[in-house]
Protein backbone atom coordinates (compact mmCIF):
# COMPACT_ATOMS: atom_id res chain seq x y z
CA UNK A 1 0.00 0.00 0.00
CA UNK A 2 1.47 3.27 -1.03
CA UNK A 3 0.62 6.45 0.74
CA UNK A 4 0.58 9.67 -1.22
CA UNK A 5 3.34 12.02 -0.12
CA UNK A 6 1.82 14.31 2.46
CA UNK A 7 2.93 17.82 1.77
CA UNK A 8 1.33 19.46 4.74
CA UNK A 9 1.04 18.24 8.31
CA UNK A 10 -0.06 20.50 11.09
CA UNK A 11 1.17 20.06 14.68
CA UNK A 12 -2.22 18.64 15.72
CA UNK A 13 -2.06 16.10 12.90
CA UNK A 14 1.43 15.12 13.98
CA UNK A 15 0.31 14.68 17.57
CA UNK A 16 -2.66 12.50 16.69
CA UNK A 17 -0.35 10.40 14.54
CA UNK A 18 2.33 9.74 17.16
CA UNK A 19 0.08 8.56 19.99
CA UNK A 20 0.98 4.99 20.90
CA UNK A 21 4.30 5.15 19.11
CA UNK A 22 7.83 5.21 20.49
CA UNK A 23 9.06 8.78 20.72
CA UNK A 24 11.97 10.81 21.97
CA UNK A 25 11.04 13.87 23.99
CA UNK A 26 13.87 16.35 24.38
CA UNK A 27 13.65 18.92 27.13
CA UNK A 28 15.21 22.37 27.10
CA UNK A 29 17.72 21.15 29.67
CA UNK A 30 19.06 18.69 27.06
CA UNK A 31 17.72 15.57 28.76
CA UNK A 32 16.05 12.99 26.49
CA UNK A 33 13.07 10.90 27.50
CA UNK A 34 12.44 7.85 25.34
CA UNK A 35 9.21 5.93 25.68
CA UNK A 36 5.81 5.08 24.29
CA UNK A 37 3.66 8.18 24.03
CA UNK A 38 0.40 7.37 25.79
CA UNK A 39 -1.19 10.80 25.51
CA UNK A 40 -0.63 14.53 25.36
CA UNK A 41 -2.52 17.84 25.30
CA UNK A 42 -2.32 21.24 23.69
CA UNK A 43 0.22 22.49 26.22
CA UNK A 44 2.56 19.68 25.16
CA UNK A 45 2.11 18.05 28.56
CA UNK A 46 3.05 14.46 27.85
CA UNK A 47 2.36 11.09 29.44
CA UNK A 48 4.96 8.46 28.57
CA UNK A 49 5.09 4.72 29.21
CA UNK A 50 8.22 2.60 29.58
CA UNK A 51 10.21 5.78 29.95
CA UNK A 52 13.98 5.92 29.78
CA UNK A 53 15.89 9.00 30.90
CA UNK A 54 18.99 9.71 28.82
CA UNK A 55 21.51 12.35 29.89
CA UNK A 56 24.51 13.05 27.63
CA UNK A 57 23.89 9.82 25.73
CA UNK A 58 23.80 7.71 28.88
CA UNK A 59 20.80 5.88 30.30
CA UNK A 60 20.25 7.31 33.77
CA UNK A 61 16.85 6.06 34.88
CA UNK A 62 13.78 4.07 33.94
CA UNK A 63 10.22 4.87 34.92
CA UNK A 64 6.99 2.98 34.33
CA UNK A 65 4.87 6.03 33.73
CA UNK A 66 6.02 9.60 33.47
CA UNK A 67 4.28 12.92 33.16
CA UNK A 68 6.30 15.66 31.51
CA UNK A 69 5.20 19.24 31.93
CA UNK A 70 4.85 20.88 28.52
CA UNK A 71 6.84 24.01 29.23
CA UNK A 72 10.05 21.96 29.41
CA UNK A 73 9.58 20.29 26.04
CA UNK A 74 11.94 21.34 23.26
CA UNK A 75 10.70 18.79 20.74
CA UNK A 76 8.90 15.49 20.29
CA UNK A 77 10.61 13.27 17.78
CA UNK A 78 9.20 10.18 16.07
CA UNK A 79 10.28 7.79 13.35
CA UNK A 80 9.00 8.47 9.87
CA UNK A 81 6.87 5.30 9.57
CA UNK A 82 3.27 6.38 9.71
CA UNK A 83 0.36 4.39 11.06
CA UNK A 84 2.36 1.17 10.76
CA UNK A 85 3.89 -0.59 13.74
CA UNK A 86 7.63 0.08 13.73
CA UNK A 87 9.93 -2.94 13.68
CA UNK A 88 11.27 -3.73 17.11
CA UNK A 89 14.92 -4.38 16.52
CA UNK A 90 16.72 -4.35 19.82
Amino acid sequence: MQQPPQQERSPTEFLSNVIGRPVVVKLNSGVDYRGILSCLDGYMNIALEQTEEWVNGQLKNKYGDAFIRGNNVLYISADKTRKREPLNIQ
Partner: protein, 133 residues
Protein backbone atom coordinates in the same frame (compact mmCIF):
# COMPACT_ATOMS: atom_id res chain seq x y z
CA UNK B 1 -1.78 41.12 13.66
CA UNK B 2 -0.75 44.71 13.75
CA UNK B 3 -1.23 45.48 10.10
CA UNK B 4 -4.89 45.98 9.41
CA UNK B 5 -4.51 46.40 5.69
CA UNK B 6 -3.10 43.50 3.77
CA UNK B 7 -2.30 44.86 0.35
CA UNK B 8 -1.35 42.41 -2.37
CA UNK B 9 2.36 43.20 -2.33
CA UNK B 10 2.64 43.09 1.44
CA UNK B 11 3.48 39.74 2.99
CA UNK B 12 2.71 38.98 6.61
CA UNK B 13 5.56 37.26 8.47
CA UNK B 14 3.67 34.01 8.92
CA UNK B 15 2.62 34.03 5.26
CA UNK B 16 6.29 33.88 4.40
CA UNK B 17 6.64 30.80 6.56
CA UNK B 18 3.50 29.36 4.98
CA UNK B 19 5.22 29.64 1.61
CA UNK B 20 8.06 27.53 3.02
CA UNK B 21 5.84 24.49 3.64
CA UNK B 22 7.27 21.55 1.74
CA UNK B 23 10.72 23.09 1.45
CA UNK B 24 13.77 23.34 3.63
CA UNK B 25 13.93 25.75 6.52
CA UNK B 26 16.55 26.78 9.04
CA UNK B 27 15.42 27.40 12.62
CA UNK B 28 17.55 29.31 15.10
CA UNK B 29 16.68 28.87 18.78
CA UNK B 30 17.16 31.15 21.78
CA UNK B 31 20.00 28.99 23.03
CA UNK B 32 23.01 27.78 21.07
CA UNK B 33 20.88 25.45 19.02
CA UNK B 34 19.75 25.26 15.40
CA UNK B 35 17.62 22.95 13.29
CA UNK B 36 17.32 22.41 9.54
CA UNK B 37 14.69 20.27 7.89
CA UNK B 38 11.72 20.14 5.58
CA UNK B 39 8.81 22.11 6.96
CA UNK B 40 5.59 20.09 6.96
CA UNK B 41 3.41 22.48 8.94
CA UNK B 42 3.09 24.92 11.80
CA UNK B 43 0.45 26.55 14.00
CA UNK B 44 -0.31 29.98 15.49
CA UNK B 45 2.32 29.50 18.21
CA UNK B 46 4.85 28.64 15.47
CA UNK B 47 5.17 25.12 16.79
CA UNK B 48 6.60 23.39 13.73
CA UNK B 49 6.49 19.91 12.24
CA UNK B 50 9.80 19.20 10.52
CA UNK B 51 11.02 16.18 8.59
CA UNK B 52 14.56 14.85 7.96
CA UNK B 53 15.89 17.15 10.61
CA UNK B 54 19.45 17.90 11.56
CA UNK B 55 19.88 19.33 15.02
CA UNK B 56 22.96 21.46 15.59
CA UNK B 57 24.15 22.09 19.09
CA UNK B 58 27.03 24.39 19.88
CA UNK B 59 28.72 22.88 22.91
CA UNK B 60 32.07 23.78 24.49
CA UNK B 61 33.45 20.63 22.82
CA UNK B 62 32.34 21.84 19.40
CA UNK B 63 29.34 21.52 17.14
CA UNK B 64 27.25 18.41 17.71
CA UNK B 65 24.77 17.23 15.07
CA UNK B 66 21.90 14.77 15.46
CA UNK B 67 19.63 13.42 12.75
CA UNK B 68 15.90 13.10 13.51
CA UNK B 69 13.21 11.62 11.28
CA UNK B 70 10.28 13.80 12.19
CA UNK B 71 9.80 16.26 15.03
CA UNK B 72 7.29 18.60 16.53
CA UNK B 73 9.37 21.57 17.60
CA UNK B 74 8.05 23.73 20.43
CA UNK B 75 7.71 27.27 19.15
CA UNK B 76 8.45 28.79 22.52
CA UNK B 77 12.20 28.92 22.08
CA UNK B 78 12.41 29.85 18.41
CA UNK B 79 14.08 33.17 17.61
CA UNK B 80 14.49 33.15 13.86
CA UNK B 81 13.35 31.23 10.79
CA UNK B 82 15.27 31.31 7.54
CA UNK B 83 13.78 29.83 4.36
CA UNK B 84 16.29 27.59 2.61
CA UNK B 85 18.45 25.33 4.66
CA UNK B 86 21.98 24.09 4.84
CA UNK B 87 23.28 26.24 2.02
CA UNK B 88 22.89 29.20 4.33
CA UNK B 89 24.24 27.26 7.24
CA UNK B 90 27.51 26.69 5.40
CA UNK B 91 27.94 30.44 5.06
CA UNK B 92 27.15 30.84 8.70
CA UNK B 93 29.97 28.65 9.99
CA UNK B 94 32.12 30.78 12.26
CA UNK B 95 35.05 32.48 10.52
CA UNK B 96 38.58 32.18 11.79
CA UNK B 97 40.28 35.37 12.97
CA UNK B 98 42.56 35.20 9.92
CA UNK B 99 39.55 35.12 7.61
CA UNK B 100 37.98 38.01 9.49
CA UNK B 101 41.08 40.22 9.16
CA UNK B 102 41.35 39.31 5.47
CA UNK B 103 37.69 40.07 4.94
CA UNK B 104 37.80 43.37 6.84
CA UNK B 105 40.90 44.57 4.99
CA UNK B 106 39.28 43.61 1.70
CA UNK B 107 36.12 45.48 2.63
CA UNK B 108 37.96 48.61 3.79
CA UNK B 109 39.94 48.56 0.56
CA UNK B 110 36.73 48.28 -1.46
CA UNK B 111 35.05 51.05 0.51
CA UNK B 112 38.05 53.34 0.17
CA UNK B 113 38.20 52.63 -3.56
CA UNK B 114 34.52 53.32 -4.07
CA UNK B 115 34.81 56.51 -2.00
CA UNK B 116 37.78 57.65 -4.02
CA UNK B 117 35.92 56.85 -7.26
CA UNK B 118 32.81 58.68 -6.17
CA UNK B 119 34.91 61.63 -5.03
CA UNK B 120 36.70 61.67 -8.39
CA UNK B 121 33.42 61.62 -10.32
CA UNK B 122 32.07 64.34 -8.05
CA UNK B 123 35.07 66.54 -8.75
CA UNK B 124 34.80 65.70 -12.46
CA UNK B 125 31.15 66.70 -12.65
CA UNK B 126 31.82 69.76 -10.54
CA UNK B 127 34.54 70.86 -12.94
CA UNK B 128 32.31 70.21 -15.97
CA UNK B 129 29.55 72.27 -14.41
CA UNK B 130 32.02 74.97 -13.51
CA UNK B 131 33.42 75.15 -17.04
CA UNK B 132 30.06 75.01 -18.78
CA UNK B 133 28.88 77.88 -16.65
Amino acid sequence: MASATNSTNQLLPLELIDKCIGSKIWVIMKSEKEFTGTLLGFDDYVNMVLEDVTEYENTPEGRKTTHLDQILLNGNNITMLIPGGEEYLLQATPLTSQQITKLSSFLTKQIKRSLRLSLNTMIFYYLICFYTL
